[in-house]
Amino acid sequence: MDYIILGNGIAGIQGALNIRRYDREGDITIITDEEYGFYSRPMITDIMTGKRRPEEIILMGEEGYRAFGFKFMKGLSIKRIDLEKRCLYSSQDRIKFHRLLIATGARPKRIKKHRDGVYYLRSIKDALDIKRQLKNTKKAIVYGGGPVGIKAAYALLSWGMPVSIMVTSPQIMSRVFDKKTASVFQRLFEENGAKFYLGSSIEDLVWQKGLKGVVTDRGDYIDGGILIVGKGVVSHTEIAEDAGISVNEGIIVNDMMETSEDGIYAAGDVAETNTGPGNKGRVFALWHTGAEQGKVAGANMAGEKKIYNGSVSSNSVEYFGMKAISMGTMEGEGLKEEIYEDKDGYRRFMFRDELLVGAILVGNIQGAGILLNAIKKGTPRSIWKRDFLSSHWPCLSIHPNITMEVLF
């Protein structure tokens, strides 16, 4: 059996590892258009500032691929998938396959006014480009207040570069955290030298032999020699769409991560899942959801039966020593909220009909995994004692005559 994995991210690697787990014989080929082995994409901000070298964030080098018997083809871009002949076409040759996993991931959303000095942050190559530009820059501008933008800003601030952050919505990380948490982080960033322009977007770039600054639609002028854009990602679906695989926002997959075509699977940032409560047509672009989906896809490709139960979107951040975790849905109809606050931190929970559906923990994050598991499994509230939310150790507040096994 010939397996081909398009994409070298966490979903692709988890897929390959899980194929190898159930199929010791088959040929597994991993194809990527990048020049590096499997590396940690969330850590590329460290490369940008020179804190780490590219070799240091590589999680699996060439010898790792050899150890598992994967054939690794780097720097190869695939032009076309032929579903009838079951082969892939690159610019030179063609590669045959029996089963294919599409884990091509996503690419950053581009802004309309693109010029030199505007950078996106997605791969090691992007980070190295930014690093080169940062050498002759005194101030940086970050556009986008999502996890990517804020992480880039944090890396630059801790490196010692003043940063201006432009956010379209009235708060930072609006899709991850609530207003209170965002204001806590905003204060921390401001104390450390960041300047925020909330509720503003780019009107024009000031460009004179290189980027000089940005004019916002509110009329502010922001000075800066580099603009880093983190406005979210779009799935890389073109290659699948051309082949005739049904595509919406991402490649549509069923609960076994199989696409509309037989033997073609998709996972990671490129897959659009419909399983799990509230996950209708949902594209997750998170590290651990990629791992979960890749795992299921790999097992199914190798002939095992494994069902994907849906993921809960969750995020964990740590800036300037302040830890915060957000999970599940925080907005919607029919949700009841409960807030607990003490000197250690702030906890906010969302309930729908006695079911925990979302939580934000700031400061003290111990036991967050138990809450995430409770959201995933839909554990009823009655098994928790009254104080379970305010307690730092949620697992201890289970009602005495119910065993822990209910949760797991």
């Binding site: 988890q14 940690s40 994409r41 969330p42 850590m43 964030i57 999680l59 590290w287 651990h288 791992a291 979960e292 795992k295 969750s314 964990s316 951040v317 740590e318 020593g321 830890k323 975790i325 999970m327 250690d344 994050i365 111990q366 036991g367 967050a368 995994g369 138990i370 995430l372 598991n373 004692k385 307690s391 150790w393 949620p394 697992c395 201890l396 507040s397 289970i398 005495p400 822990m404 949760l407 797991f408």
Partner: protein, 169 residues
């Protein structure tokens, strides 16, 4: 593979396991040092804790899952598994994805790193097991324990093959 198991009927909430853990994970394995170097709360230098409260005591122990959620979620490659799941502090960047994903709450966010039970790698028995005066913590094979549980012998405090050992200090 031997693992730490907790038999809750036996536990008397003395907290000796936590103290022994603090001592074991100290530079010279001396409790006195752990007391003066690190104030007990909130920065307790243990990887093994028992909550004292009205609720049941519950040790946060790692189950060494077959497919560890913490390992899959780790973005820096610090969580690894070789028979046991362990956290490599040289690689850990303190993003706490593992804390968020462990369904047992067994990973603790201390000192900006992911801290978890290492089952006292280089000793014959983990320190908490050695310290427990009532054998509520036992270090046995899961299969052996399930046999004992079936026969309901665990109610007898002396029956488990886990002799009382004095701590080394």
């Amino acid at each position: 593979m031997k693992e730490i198991h907790f038999i809750k009927d036996r536990c008397i909430r003395c907290g000796a396991c936590s103290v022994a853990c603090a001592a074991e994970h100290n530079k010279n394995h001396h409790l006195y040092d752990s007391l003066i170097n690190i104030p007990f709360a909130p920065k307790q230098k243990t990887v093994f804790q028992v909550e004292q409260g009205e609720a049941l005591p519950h040790p946060l122990r790692c189950r060494n899952c077959e497919e560890p959620a913490c390992m899959e979620a780790c973005i820096s490659g610090a969580m690894n598994k070789e028979h046991r799941v362990f956290s490599n502090w040289k690689r850990c960047i303190g993003c706490f994805m593992c804390v968020m994903n462990c369904p047992y709450g067994a990973i603790l966010p201390f000192f900006g790193k992911a801290v978890k039970c290492d089952q006292c790698l280089f000793t014959e028995k983990p320190a908490c097991v050695r310290a427990c005066p009532v054998n509520a913590l036992v270090f046995v094979d899961s299969h052996d324990l399930s046999l004992v549980r079936k026969q309901k012998r665990w109610r007898n405090r002396k029956d488990m093959d886990a002799p009382l050992l004095r701590a080394r200090y």
